[in-house]
C-alpha cells in the first residue's frame, strides 16, 4: 500500500512538472499579484512594509486556489479516477497523497518565494522570517481545505471559479491566524506562539478533515 501511495505521489509530481502540468505557475502568479500591489497603493516603502505580510498572505491564498480544480478533474476526464476508486488503497489516503503532491508543487514554492517577494515589499528580517514560517505552517491547511472544493467540482467542466467561491469563505480563519502571528512577531505586543499554534492546529485539522471529506464527496457524487 505504501508503494502504491508513493507511486501516486510520484506520478502527480511528474505530471505537474511535465509540459502542460502547470507546476510552478502558482509562483509566477504570486509574483504578479505582489507586483501589482505597489501600483495600486503607491510605492511608499513604509506603507508597503506595514501591509506586506497581509499582501503576501493574500497572494499565497489566491495562488494556492489556482489549479485546485484540476486535482481530481483531470483524473476524472481521462478515466484514472475510476481506477483509483477501484484500487484496494483507501480513497482517503489517495486524496491525501494528491493533496500532498499539490502542496509540493504549489504551496511549497510559495513558501520558498515569500522571503524574496518580502524584500520587494521592504519587510524587515523579523517580518520576513515570521511570514515565511506562517506560510510554511499555514499553506497545507489551504491546500487540504481546497481538496474538498476540488472533489465537489470533480465532474464540472469549468469548476475553477466555483472552487474558489466555495473554498474562500472557509479559508478566512487561516488568513486571520496567519496574519495575526506575523503581526505579533513584528510588533511584539502579543506572543507569536498563540496564533502560530492555532494556525498549526488548523493545518492538522485540515490534514485530517480534507482528505476524508474529499473522498466522501467523490464517492457520493459518482455513485
Amino acid at each position: 500500500m505504501i508503494a502504491a501511495l508513493r507511486a501516486i505521489l510520484a506520478r502527480d509530481l511528474t505530471l505537474a512538472f511535465r509540459v502542460g502540468g502547470g507546476g510552478g505557475i502558482g509562483v509566477v502568479f504570486f509574483l504578479a499579484v505582489v507586483t501589482i500591489v505597489p501600483f495600486a497603493v503607491g510605492p511608499e516603502l513604509p506603507l508597503l512594509a506595514r501591509i506586506g505580510p497581509a499582501v503576501l498572505w493574500i497572494g499565497a491564498l489566491l495562488a494556492s486556489l489556482l489549479g485546485l480544480d484540476r486535482i481530481f478533474a483531470a483524473d476524472h476526464e481521462d478515466g484514472n479516477l475510476d481506477l483509483l476508486l477501484m484500487a484496494p488503497v483507501p480513497l482517503e489516503l489517495i486524496a491525501a497523497m494528491k493533496g500532498a503532491a499539490h502542496w509540493i508543487t504549489t504551496g511549497l514554492p510559495l513558501v520558498v518565494a515569500a522571503p524574496l517577494l518580502g524584500l520587494l515589499l521592504g519587510l524587515e528580517p523579523k517580518a520576513l522570517a515570521a511570514v515565511t514560517a506562517t506560510l510554511l505552517v499555514g499553506t497545507p491547511a489551504l491546500t487540504f481545505l481546497g481538496l474538498i472544493g476540488a472533489a465537489l467540482a470533480v465532474a464540472l467542466p469549468r469548476g475553477g471559479l466555483l472552487v474558489a467561491v466555495l473554498v474562500l469563505p472557509l479559508t478566512i480563519p487561516i488568513l486571520i491566524f496567519g496574519v495575526a502571528a506575523t503581526t505579533a512577531a513584528v510588533t511584539g505586543l502579543v506572543p507569536f506562539g498563540t496564533p502560530f499554534r492555532l494556525l498549526a492546529a488548523l493545518s492538522l485539522v485540515g490534514l485530517v478533515l480534507g482528505p476524508v471529506a474529499a473522498a466522501a464527496a467523490i464517492r457520493v457524487i459518482r455513485d
Partner: protein
Amino acid sequence: MALLDLANPHRFLAFARALVPALALIAAVLLVLGLVLGFRAPPDYQQGETVRIMFIHVPAAWIALGAYTLMAISALGTLVWRHPLADVSAKAAAPIGAAFSLICLLTGALWGRPTWGTYWVWDARLTSVLVLFLVYLGILALWRAIEDPGQAARAVAILTLVGFVNVPIVKFSVDWWNTLHQPASVFRIGGPTIHPVLLTPLLVTAAGFAALFLALHLGAMRNEILRRRVRALRMLAAAGAEAR
C-alpha cells in the same frame, strides 16, 4: 412515524397544500401584532427609536442560523438516511436562509450607522455572519452548477456539512472575542436582560418570522417537487420523440 409517511412526495404535497396557507396566516397575524407592539413600545433610553430595528434584525439572524442548521440536518438526511425529501428540503432552505442573512446584515448596517456611527465594522460577529452569507451563496452556486439533481444534492450536502463549522462561530463569536456587537441578551444563562416591554414584541415577531420561514420553506419544497416532475416528464417526452 410522521417523517417516514411524508417520504411519499404525493402525501407531502397534500400536507403542504393544507399547511402553507395556515402558516402564512399565522405569520401575518404574528408579524402585524409584533410590529404594532414594537411601535407602541417606549424608545430605549440609550438607542432611542432605533431599538425597533431589533424586532426585524434579531429574528432574521435567528432564522438565518436556523435555516442553515435545517440544511445541515437535511444534508445528513441525504447522505445517511437517504430520505427522498431531504435534498428537496435542503435546496428549498438555501435561498430563504441567504435572504434572511442579507436582511440581518442590512438591518444591522442601518442600525449601526446612528448607534455606532458606522455602517460596518470588521468585528467577529459581523464578519462571521458575512461568511455565513458567502457560504449560502456558494451553496446556491453549487446547486446551479451540477445538472443532475441527485448528484447536486449529494455534493451540496457535503459542502453544507463542512460549512456548518461557521454556525457555532457565529453564535459564540460575541463570547469568544471582544466584539463591538453586544453579547447575547435573550438566550443566556440567568435569563434575558431585555426589559419585557421590548422582549415581548421581539418574541412575537420572532415567532412570526419562524412561521413565515416554515410557510416559505414548505411552499418552496412543493415547487421543487413539481419542478422535478416537470423535468422528468420533459425528459420522458424527449426520449419518446427520439424513439419515434
